[in-house]
């Protein structure tokens, strides 16, 4: 991957390092969000940054998401590079007017006379150490992917998280940077030297010839677990992590499907209207004559996330579900 010294750090530490590097490298970069300063953020992502860079550059804000989004854009338009944390992505819905109608459109509507280098960082998803319920565990990437003018990133490893956040902050367009809250403690190798992972480039997390699985975020790990299990059964699964949900790296996906002739799409979000539907349709449009089986989709149930742990456990696909779907596909039962 990258030359230089690698060490194991967590997904959370990787994001923290990316913010620290960006603050140090560029005086235009500043952070804003609820409790991100002295407290270090609800999940501790910004811990230590207030001490290092001060309250001017790591700004605590009131609880007023739409105002925060508007202020962040205003700062971006006047030459700053703000990184806004929304404590839970579920709360970003209060700021969608600013994000959808202003962030996404301002550069276009002013004919390119301004840029909008603003990043929204926010945790989404469930599957964390405690049940978070209907208002704290949603996966809302499809909302943002739908809006022209926004880029959407969803890393699944510490390495990708750090490199993609550095690229997102350097980008002159609004980027929605989605963090999976159940992965903050996941460890992985990350170089000490600064690096970026370009937006819009997928990663083949595991190579295989029999079936392509596309999954982002936590689902990518479940797909990899399923692939490891199936390898013992003689089924070679290729796992692709799009990493950037928009713009989507179609070429990597298409090349894989043209090789394996089968696709399994996994998303944590509810089934209806999700990114997996978009992936599947693009595969049909570009790879129809290469498909040797129906495309299979695994997704969250179309329900609000239950608080009861026993019910929550049934909402999302897990690695045994993915493995079973692949077995059936390869055995020509689907």
């Amino acid at each position: 991957m990258t030359a230089g010294h690698m060490r194991e750090i967590t997904y959370l530490q990787a994001i923290n390092e990316a913010l620290r590097e960006a603050l140090a490298e560029d005086p235009r970069v500043f952070l804003m969000g609820e409790d991100i300063g002295q407290h270090g953020g609800a999940f501790g992502v910004t811990r230590g940054l207030w001490d290092a860079f001060g309250g001017e550059r790591v700004r605590d804000t009131p609880i007023s998401e739409n105002t925060l989004a508007g202020a962040a854009l205003g700062a971006a338009l006047t030459g700053m590079r703000p990184v806004l944390e929304i404590m839970f992505l579920d709360f970003s819905l209060l700021a969608l007017d600013q994000i959808f109608n202003e962030w996404a459109k301002v550069r276009y509507m002013y004919g390119g006379q301004c840029t909008a280098p603003v990043v929204l960082r926010s945790p989404q998803g469930g599957l964390s150490w405690k049940s978070a319920g209907a208002h704290h565990a949603q996966s809302l990437e499809a909302l943002f992917v739908h809006i022209p003018g926004l880029k959407v990133v969803f890393p699944s490893t510490p390495y990708d998280a750090k490199g993609l956040l550095k690229a997102a902050i350097a980008d002159d367009n609004p980027v929605i940077f989605l963090e999976h809250k159940a992965m903050y403690g996941d460890r992985g190798a990350v170089p000490e030297e600064p690096y970026r992972v370009p937006l819009g480039v997928a990663d083949v997390k595991r190579a295989g010839d029999d079936v392509t699985v596309i999954a982002a975020g936590k689902m990518c790990h479940f797909a990899l677990d399923a692939a490891a299990l199936l390898a013992k059964e003689g089924i070679a699964v290729e796992v692709i992590d799009p990493r950037t949900l928009k713009p989507l790296d179609e070429e990597t996906i298409f090349a894989s499907v043209r090789k394996t002739h089968r696709a399994v799409l996994v998303q944590e979000a509810p089934r209806t209207g999700g990114v997996a539907a978009e992936w599947g349709m693009r595969i049909v449009e570009a790879c129809f004559d290469w498909l040797d089986a129906p495309i299979v989709r695994l997704a969250g149930a179309d329900v609000p996330i239950p608080y009861a742990h026993s019910l929550e456990a049934k909402v999302w696909p897990r690695s045994p579900d993915i493995a079973e779907a692949i077995r059936k596909l390869v055995a020509l039962e689907i």
């Binding site: 002739h261 129809f288 004559d289 290469w290 498909l291 040797d292 089986a293 020509l332 039962e333």
Partner: protein, 373 residues
Amino acid sequence: MLEITLPKLTHDMQTGAFVQWYKREGDAVKRGDALYAVETDKATVDVEAEAGGVLTGVLARPGDEIAIGQVLAYLAAPGETIETTGRVPGPGAGGRVVATPLARRVAREAGVDLRQVRGSGPHGRIVRADVLRVRRVQTTPAVGAADAPGADSDYEVVARSRVQAQTAARLTRMWQESPLYILDLDADMTEAIRWREKTGRARSFTTLLVKVAAAALENVPQVNSLWIDGELRRHRAVNVGVAIATPSGVIVPVIHDANQLTAQQIQARLAELRERAGAGRLMPSDLGGGTFTVTNLGMYGVDAFAAVINPPQVAILACGRIVETPVARHREVVIRPLLRLRLTVDHRALDGAEAAPFLVAVKDLLENPYRLI
């Protein structure tokens, strides 16, 4: 809702031909009722219902080739419907070919007729591996490949393209129906060879044959006929077909109004047809309307051969290579380049006295090409 599937009725049984249902969709069925008849490799047998219910979602139709375990229909509890269980009749119901997009593409490229392929997927869906199994003889199977033919078999079934299958059917019918006879005549090709050298070999002998045959057909028009439904239809247009070998079989593109074209035009048209045939891009109009066919295996080293008539035409002219042959001329033996012309004729349409002048006209024109060119 119970699935009614085809049981294994004899030891060797793999499939059965569905004969008929004894119950209709919606009929109440009791356990033990005779439900349907199926023809096995041994006999036609009646199969009884193993449970009671309402016959629903009928998939099997008379004449269907059905694999063991394939769903024929469902037995529903009273009030239960296909809709309530979410079951729908299989996509193959009604004889439609069900194949994955990839299987369709592979079959198209390999010239495999999907109707001849048994699908191994759900509801008999054809997947790529099924097509490759049929096509396997056309490619060298990789050692140990999943699609390689069974090593225990001492022969392999050679896949036939649709063109080859149709050619076989048409020519078999022609051979069975038609009383054929054959006329032979040698043409001295001295002048023809000289003519070809003068063109710098830019013209082929096939071009000359088409040109000559077209002129002879004009002179002896009874050969320029089709035999259809017992009628002899003499055609006004002279449309000469030329047999061309392609990877997917012999095809006969047609040079329309060949009697009105120059050798140069015929040569150009032949080149165009060959190119399109090689690319598999012939149009229906390139293949239709032929009133006579010439076929030339000279380039394959054959001295002479008898061709089978391309129905509904009534004759076909076949020739092999030009052979240096000792012949008597003016009481002396000389060496001459001879081409054996062999005309196969359908006696229903033409008798020998009608066909012979045509072959003589072809010979005369080949021996004196400057009359034409």
